[in-house]
Every structure is written in C-alpha cells, then in structure tokens.
C-alpha cells in the first residue's frame, strides 16, 4: 500500500511490470501477476504487444478477470488457437518471442529463477507448480522480466531449484550454455525495479514511498546503485488504476 493509501502494492507491481512490456513485443506470459502486467500494458502504452499463452492461445484480449491461463475467460478475443508446440516450439524455440513475462518463487543474482520448490524453515521442501513452459520461455525468448512480490527470502545466491536459466548459470554465460537471448533483464516487485545486465543487478528504482536503503536491506543479493542514484518508479496514473480496478482485477484476486 502506498503511504497515503492511493494504491496497493499489487497495483503498483502491475503498473511497474507493465512498463517493461514494449509496444511490438511478442510476449509469452505466465499465470497471475504477469497476466496483470501484460494486459495492463496491452490496454495502455503497448496496444501492439502480441501476447501468447503456452496453452496454445495467440493474442488474446480478455475483458473480464480470469483464474489463470487455463481459464477460458483469459482466451477471449484471441486471434488463433493452436498448440503448445506452436507457442513454446514454433514461437519461443523458433526465436519469434521477444519477451517472457513470468512469476517466480526465488531469483538469483543473474536472474535465474525457481518456480519448482522452496525450502521451509524446518528444511523440508515445499513443491509448487514446476516449470510448465517457464523453462522453455526463459531458455529461448529474447529477454525475460520477472514479476513477483518482494520478500527477502525470494532473493538467494543459490536457488533451491534452478527451474529457468537467467543471464548466466554458475560461471557459464547463456552463449556457453547454448542459449540465445539476453536472459533476465528486470525483476519487478511491489517495492522496486531491479535491472540486470552482464555486469550484474542494479536497484534501478524504488516505488513511491520506499527508501532505497530499506529495499536494499530486504534484497540479499549483490545490487549496484546506478550513477546518479536509485530513481523513483513513476507512480500509477489514474487511468492505470481505473483499468486495474474496473476491468482487470475487480475482485482484487491478484492486486489487492
């Protein structure tokens, strides 16, 4: 929640995530917060972003909230239905996807991420969803943006499980591994925007009401501060907030 209650952390996350989607991107998007960010971008600054779902849906323009990518509401307005081999294979593996917009349980300093399992305080492993198409998207897309809520335990030098490779794995670059694309270029949370390049991760901006030092303290991976200091993420506009509240997520499933 912003300091004066004008928007929630989830709304801020959706807005900041949406700004990572460029007009003209061909983007495969994941379940939940990535859906919010991608659809917000599509309805605001990136009307020519082409969204794809691994279930085999091309360019949907849904008009009501959905429970995920397997919810037929999310497929409304699609231009074509096809197969996973077409979306993850022809489009992503075939080099036709410029952006993967995905969620994560855990991220490392090079933007590799985990969607498989986490280790609980008692040492037991708790399983979540697995890769699905996440590994295929991150292995093959031009660039990757991760959107997730900000908790210190989600940032780790070593992942519990490396589901999807980022810019490098260990000391091996994507090119060494045999992977195309640049890998993860941003991690957007409900507190900040972290950008990544081949030198590492940078605390690019913190959201309004956040102090960079407080965010750094809750982000236990090496983070550079840009020349001129960490900026403030642009605040959500009235138009963005209205779209989220009235159309995208009126029940607050993802952004409350």
């Amino acid at each position: 929640m912003s300091a004066d209650g004008r928007w929630t952390g989830g709304e801020m996350l959706a807005v900041a995530g949406s700004l990572q989607v460029h007009d003209g991107d061909v983007a495969v998007i994941g379940l939940g917060l990535p859906q919010m960010a991608a659809l917000l971008a599509q309805r605001t600054h990136a009307p020519d972003a082409r969204l794809l779902l691994e279930i085999g849906v091309f360019e949907p323009m849904p008009t009501e909230p959905s429970a995920g990518i397997a919810d037929p509401r999310m497929w409304r307005g699609a231009t074509a239905f096809g197969t996973t081999l077409e979306v993850l294979g022809v489009m992503a593996h075939g080099g036709r996807v410029s952006l993967g917009l995905l969620g994560a349980l855990q991220v490392d300093p090079w933007g590799s991420f985990n969607t498989t399992e986490v280790e609980e305080a008692d040492g037991r492993r708790r399983r979540f969803r697995g890769s699905g198409g996440g590994n295929d998207i991150s292995s093959n897309a031009g660039r990757i943006v991760i959107v997730m809520t900000h908790q210190a335990r989600k940032f780790a030098e070593t992942l519990t499980f490396l589901t999807s490779p980022g810019r490098q794995v260990g000391d091996r670059s994507r090119a060494d591994l045999g992977l195309p694309g640049e890998g993860t270029c941003a991690v957007v949370t409900d507190r900040c925007v972290i950008t990544l390049d081949d030198h590492g991760a940078t605390l690019e901006s913190v959201h309004p009401g956040e102090h960079p030092d407080a965010v750094l303290a809750d982000t236990p991976i090496p983070l550079a501060v840009p020349d001129g200091g960490t900026k403030e993420t642009p605040a959500p506009t009235a138009r963005q907030l209205a779209f989220i509240r009235n159309e995208l997520d009126p029940n607050g499933w993802y952004t409350s």
Binding site: D71, H93, T116
Partner: protein, 285 residues
C-alpha cells in the same frame, strides 16, 4: 457399400480396459478439459500402479494420485491455476510415495511428438543449464549432445509412447473422429503418441456428420470412445461449460488440509457414487 467401425463403449468398459501398471497419458490442463469422469471410473475400478504422463497436470491427475492409482508421474507442471496446487501430487512427492519425473513443457511435448512419429529421438535447447537436467540425465532419459552439423550444445530426448491416452473431446462420431474446440496445448501429441488412444466425448454423432476439416483427432488413431456429457466437471470445457468455482474451492480445501480429508472427498464424490451422473447430481445439490 463399406461400413465404418463402431468404437463407442461405456465409460466403465473404457476404464476396465486399462490394466494395473499401465502407462497412461492424460490431456487436461489445470482447470480445463480434464477427463474427470474417466479418473473417477478408474478410482472406482481400483486401478493401481499407473505411470501417468501429463504435460500440464490438473485435477484428473490429482484425483488419480489421491485415489492411490498412480506410482509415477511425468510432468512439466501441475496446478489448479489460482484455485491452488495439486495437493495429492505434492504430498505424494514429499512422502516419497509418488515418483516424479520433471521436464519443461516443450521438452515433454517433444517427447510425445517423437513417439507419435516413431522418431529415434528429438532435440531441443530447453532445459540446458537448469536443475531439470541432471536427474533426467542420471535416469537415462536425456543426453546432452552436440549438433552433428554445427556443434551447438543441445539435448537428445527419446520418444515417449504411453500405452494409453485419454482425451476429453467435444464431439466424436461413432468411429472416433473427434473435434476439440479451443486451444489444444499438447492434446494432439498426447493422442498421437499413445499405443491406444481413448476418448471421452461430450457428444456422439453418426459417422458422416462431422466436417472432416474440423476433426482434431482422426478416428484412424482412436480405439474407443465413451459418451459422458459434462464429463469434465468441475473443470471447464471451452464453449460448453465453465469450471465450477465453488466445487473447485471445496476440493482444494479438502485436498490441501490433508490426505485424510482428501480421501473423505473421494469417499463422498467418487467411491460413494456408482456413475458420473450420480456425482453430477451430488455436486449440484
């Protein structure tokens, strides 16, 4: 005048044809187009020791695991979208009762594609550098190779040929030619890869009534089809019915509480009825 085969059987006959220990490929996706009626019937039949392959696992597989029918699962992911996780699957993995083999979605779909075409192997760069790779290499299911043409690192994946596949389709004719509306994820590869392709259909029509242009799965690949209207409930079937949100929530509440509560759900909704129509009446009550 030639005659067409009649491949229509009852759901009970369809399920009874699956021996214990079979490798069964399922084709639902999370909360959509799951062969729930078929899963119920297998649980009632007491089928056990199955190896299940499903690229994006959903409720049908979670039910079968909860019902004790499955020893091994090969998947790329599993969830019920925002309704929750596959609790029986995750519990089975945590306790060691369920062996889990994980791929990326494309890699598993490619293995089915190779099985369908009878290819010796397929190749991909997906999974390179990830933790998915090492256990698959150790199990002899994947080999890291270099392209014989340009030396690029890539993976060799063997074909996958499940004994059976089960797809919940919209319309089938009596010879098993079937139409699936909406997105198809890995349905075509799943049906084509299996040695015996089985269908559950919302509607059955006579041969000749389907426009061949619309057929997703040719009857030439299909061995039998059972007629079960609303057989995907509580998952959605595109263009026909929505998922039943209240039922999914109560399912996840039971499944997520513990194995005992999950079993109580099965006692009530699966073992406590003798047909899927009885289940539908109970679920609507």
């Amino acid at each position: 005048m030639s005659t067409r085969p009649d491949r229509v059987v009852s759901l009970r006959e369809l399920a009874a044809g699956i021996p214990d220990g079979s490798h069964v490929a399922l084709a639902g996706f999370a909360i959509t187009r799951n062969a729930v009626a078929f899963a119920h019937e297998l649980i009632r039949a007491g089928t056990s020791g199955l190896s299940v392959t499903q690229v994006f696992s959903g409720m049908e597989t979670d039910l079968l695991v909860a019902g004790g029918a499955v020893d091994r699962l090969t998947y790329a992911s599993g969830s019920l979208d925002r309704f929750g996780l596959l609790h029986a699957v995750n519990r089975g993995v945590a306790t060691g009762r369920l062996e889990l083999i994980e791929y990326s979605g494309l890699a598993l779909a490619l293995r089915l594609h190779a099985g369908a075409l009878g290819l010796p192997f397929v190749t991909t760069r997906s999974m390179l550098g990830s933790d998915l790779l090492a256990p698959l290499v150790a199990a002899g299911q994947v080999e890291q190779i270099e392209s014989p043409f340009d030396g690029a690192p890539c993976l060799a994946l063997p074909p996958l040929r499940p004994d059976f596949s089960v797809v919940h389709v919209d319309v089938a004719d009596r010879a098993g030619n079937a139409v699936v509306d909406g997105p198809l994820w890995s349905i075509p590869e799943t049906a084509r890869a299996s040695k015996v392709a089985l269908l559950v259909a919302e509607e059955i029509v006579d041969v000749g009534e389907l426009d061949p242009s619309r057929v997703t799965i040719p009857g030439s690949l299909v061995h039998a089809v059972a007629h079960v209207p609303r057989g995907g409930h509580p998952t959605a079937v595109y263009g026909r019915y929505d998922y039943d949100a209240a039922h999914l929530r109560s399912y996840v509440a039971a499944a997520g509480t513990g194995a005992e509560e999950h079993d109580a759900y099965l006692d009530r909704f699966v073992r406590g009825v003798s047909t899927f129509d009885e289940y539908l009446a109970l679920a609507a009550a």
